[in-house]
Each structure stands twice: as structure tokens, then as C-alpha cells.
């Protein structure tokens, strides 16, 4: 068992390194992505600062901090498999994963860790610029306890997103056109994760739905923990629901994968 884990760890490290090497070939891309993040943060800051000033019914600091954090922390928990996975299955590239002597999830995990790390590092200048831009409206105080619990929630959030992404990918075994489904999935996930609208602005029923569904734990929950505006009971409940979802999604993935693989047509061979 330990030997297997060590082997998986070695492959994972190699995959992350490979991804870094591949991405670092395109230096221009790195600079342009950093500028893109700055543009996004500037736009968000202006909109919400103005919204808070003109309406006066939103805690200015909370809302501005929330959106800047969402742009930044979202980078750590995003899942790349939903783009690459269906493409691999539809084009027949998935065949190479079947014959490899290790689970293909390790390869996807490596790509995701590499992708998220690069995107996270690239968004750092935009994040610092955002804090500078909003000045006094930045309400987050870096408290070690909040950072610690938030880090755990980030790991759980990424795991949930990764499993959701891989379950979604299995759909490509059944239909060859996944673009529309993927975009719709993204919209639903982003809405319930609190990316579009903070959950505190949702009605009671919508908030309840977002607490039950897994999406909140892939963005909003870790941010709520970091900002510290959450009751202790809600913290515990949040972690319990996250873990339950990981178990449910993992079991579902295992069952669905077995069924889906029988549908694989290995196009292009």
C-alpha cells in the first residue's frame, strides 16, 4: 500500500513538473494573464465600490473584500478536467490512459495542481493591486486560525471540484457534444458557489439549497472562513457536509466510471 502511494506521489510530482515546463514555454501568456487579472479586479472593485456608495445598504468593506478574494481564491480550487477530460474521450485520446500502468486521475490531478499553482501565482500582483485600490474598504485581517481552517476548506473544496469535474467528464462517454452542457454546468456551479452573487444576498430557500449542494464548499465556504464572518456551528456543519460530499462523489465516480467505460468507442484508432 505504502509502495503504491509512493509511486503515485512520484508520478504526480512528475506531472506537475511537466505542466510547469509546458506552461513556462509561453512567457508572453504569463504576462498577459497577469494583466487580465488586474483588469478583472479593477472592474470588480469599481462596480462594488460604487454599488456600496450609492445604495448604502451593503457593508462596503465586506462586499469589496469578498469579490477580490473570490477572484483570487477561486484560482486555488478550480478544476481543469472539465475542459480536457471530455476532449480526451471524444477524440479517442483517452485510450492512452487505459493502457498506462497507473490511474489516469493522477495525471489529471497533476495537471490541475500545476494549472492552479501557476494561475494562483499569476493572480498575486492583481490581488495586491486590488487591496491597494480599495484601500480602507479592505476588511480582511490575516488571523492565523482563520487562515488555517480556510486552508483545510480549500483542500476539501478543490477535492470536491476535482471529483465533480471528473464525474462531469464521464458524460462524454454518452454524448459527443459537451460544450453546452459544460457551460451550463459552470453557470450553475458558479451561481451556487457564490461567485456571481455572495450567498448572504440570496433568499432563505436559495441559501439553504446552496448549503446542501456541494458548490458552496468550492468557493464561498473557504472565503467565509477566511473573512471570519461565520458562526462556530456553521464552521463544523460546513466541514461535515464537505466530507460527506467527498465520500458521496468518490463512490458515485467509481460506480459511474465502470458503467461509462463500457460505452467508450475509442475514436481515431
Amino acid at each position: 500500500m505504502m509502495k503504491e502511494l509512493k509511486k503515485a506521489q512520484k508520478i504526480l510530482n512528475k506531472e506537475v513538473q511537466l505542466y510547469f515546463k509546458k506552461e513556462l514555454q509561453y512567457r508572453n501568456l504569463i504576462i498577459v494573464r497577469t494583466i487580465s487579472d488586474i483588469v478583472k479586479i479593477v472592474a470588480i472593485s469599481f462596480v462594488w465600490l460604487m454599488a456600496s456608495k450609492s445604495t448604502n445598504n451593503i457593508s462596503q468593506g465586506y462586499i469589496v473584500t469578498y469579490y477580490i478574494l473570490a477572484t483570487f481564491m477561486g484560482r486555488l480550487m478550480s478544476d481543469y478536467t472539465v475542459y480536457q477530460g471530455p476532449q480526451d474521450i471524444i477524440s479517442g485520446n483517452f485510450s492512452k490512459f487505459i493502457v498506462k500502468p497507473f490511474n489516469y486521475l493522477i495525471e489529471y490531478l497533476g495537471v490541475n495542481i500545476g494549472f492552479n499553482s501557476i494561475r494562483f501565482i499569476l493572480s498575486l500582483p492583481a490581488f495586491i493591486f486590488g487591496i491597494f485600490l480599495v484601500g480602507n474598504y479592505w476588511v480582511l485581517e490575516f488571523n492565523p486560525y482563520n487562515i488555517f481552517v480556510s486552508l483545510i476548506a480549500i483542500i476539501l473544496g478543490f477535492t470536491i471540484n476535482f471529483l465533480l469535474g471528473n464525474i462531469f467528464t464521464l458524460g462524454a462517454f454518452f454524448t459527443k457534444q459537451m460544450d453546452g452542457i459544460r457551460t451550463f454546468y459552470f453557470n450553475i456551479a458558479s451561481f451556487f458557489s457564490g461567485e456571481y452573487i455572495p450567498l448572504i444576498f440570496m433568499s432563505f430557500n436559495m441559501r439553504f439549497a446552496s448549503e446542501i449542494l456541494p458548490f458552496r464548499y468550492t468557493l464561498s465556504f473557504p472565503m467565509e472562513l477566511l473573512i471570519g464572518k461565520i458562526e462556530d456551528v456553521d464552521v463544523e456543519r460546513g466541514f461535515v457536509i464537505s466530507i460527506i460530499w467527498i465520500v458521496v462523489l468518490f463512490v458515485s465516480y467509481k460506480l459511474l466510471y465502470k458503467k461509462s467505460l463500457k460505452k467508450y468507442e475509442a475514436e481515431g484508432i
Binding site: 509561453y26 508572453n28 501568456l29 498577459v32 494573464r33 494583466i35 487580465s36 487579472d37 483588469v39 478583472k40 472592474a43 469599481f46 462596480v47 460604487m50 454599488a51 450609492s54 445604495t55 448604502n56 445598504n57 451593503i58 454524448t175 459527443k176 457534444q177 460544450d179 453546452g180 452542457i181 457551460t183 451550463f184 453557470n187 450553475i188 451561481f191 456571481y196 452573487i197 444576498f201
Partner: protein, 270 residues
Amino acid sequence: MKQKEYKRGIKYYINVWRTILRNSFKSYNIYKLDVVIRIMRTIFVVVVQFALLQVIFGKEDAFVGWSKDQAYLVTGIWNLLNYCGWAFFGVNLLRLDQTVLNGNFDFIILKPLSSAFLASFNDFFISNFITAISGVILVGYYFVVEWSTLEIWNVLVWVLTMICAFVVWYSIHLAGSSYTLRNPRNGYLDLIKEVLGVTKYPTDIFGDSIQFVFYTFFPLAFLTSIPANILIGRISISWVLGSIVLAIISLFLANLLWKMNVRYYSSSGG
């Protein structure tokens, strides 16, 4: 590689595009589920944007000088430009990266018509076009609510400014993606997406100095804010002249950049 110039009339290009459109409809006929999902997504987009604007406005009736109905109009115009853009040329230009990297751009250059046209319009994405209905719904809502205050002349001029805005939208994409021919995977289209995302909101939120930039040196205001203001009847119709001039200049510059960058294209793959 310098491309040979092909002189073809507009009728020829319309015929080519009609064939592309026909083929696109045929391929979407196979994926009916995708169309149904896109319709559901369109409704979802409208609901989310509606909710987002409710949050931005809170209990107030106006936001930086814009009423709720007017804000729906700006968002609707943005949806129309954005999703029509994706349907007509956005996805094609986004995929140019892959076309260049695997050497398939050779086939585009070799065809007897403009490479900029073929690279931009080689496929039509009905699914994105369906999502553009969200724009029609939001703009339509404004028309219904403000029907009594609308003037026919403003509506006609608004249509003209919308066409100009769409030409500018296309020109920005064409100019950005032309650098893909010289240097693939440069991320310019990602940057353009973020910059154009700014126009989802009225330019008034950015304060006087940035707003001045958006009306002059970096005329993003001509994409959504000016068309909306023209329909509302808040600004003089002379701005339409500015829209037309901007559309012509931007299209000319984008074509110039495309032709310049095609020369730096070197074939790969094979």
C-alpha cells in the same frame, strides 16, 4: 509568408457564409440536446443578471445615474454583442491558436478568399447565438417598459450604433487574434475578454477621468454606454457619427494588423 490578395465581391462572401451557416445547422441537428441546454442556459443567464442588478441597486432606484430599466438595457446590449460575437467569430478566432500550432492555418491561406474572413467566420455557433436571446429579452424588457417614451428616430439610430458597436467588437477580436499568427498562445483574447467585460456596466461607474479615456483614447463607451444613451435619448445623435467613424477606423486597422501579422506566420506541424 505574404498572402496573395484575392479580389472577391461581397456577394461571393455572402454565398460562402450562407454555405457555412447551412453546414452549421446540419451539424447542430445531430446535437439537439445541446440546443435544449443552451435554451435553459439563456433563461438562467437572464435570471442571474437580473438578480445581480437587484443586488447592485439594493433598495435604491438609481445607480450612478442609471435607473434599473436602463441598467438592464446596458446589460442586454452587452449580451447581444458578446454572445453574437461568440456565435459569428469569437470561437473561430479563439481556436486559431490550435489551427496555427498544428499547421492547419496553411489551408486557410491557400483558399481563394480573404484569410481574415475565413479564419473569423469558418463556422457558426448556433448554441452561442441562442444565448444571445438573453440580450433580446433584456433589451425587449426596456422597450416594453419605456414604450411610451421611445422615439422612432432614436430607435433607428440605435440600430445603426449597434451595428457599429458590433463592427468595433469584431475589429478588436481580429486585431488581438492576428498576433496568434506571429506568436501562438499569447493570451491576448483572454485579455480582450476581460477588457470587454468592463463594458457590461455603464462607464459612469469609473469616475470622470477614466470615463474620459473611455470616450476618447480607448473608446469602450461606444460599445454599450453610447448605444444605450442614444436609445434613452440622453445624448445628441451626433455621437452616431463618432460610432461610424470609429467602426471604419477600427476595421481598417484590424485588417492592416492582420495582413502585417500574416507575413510573420510560419507553418508548423505537418
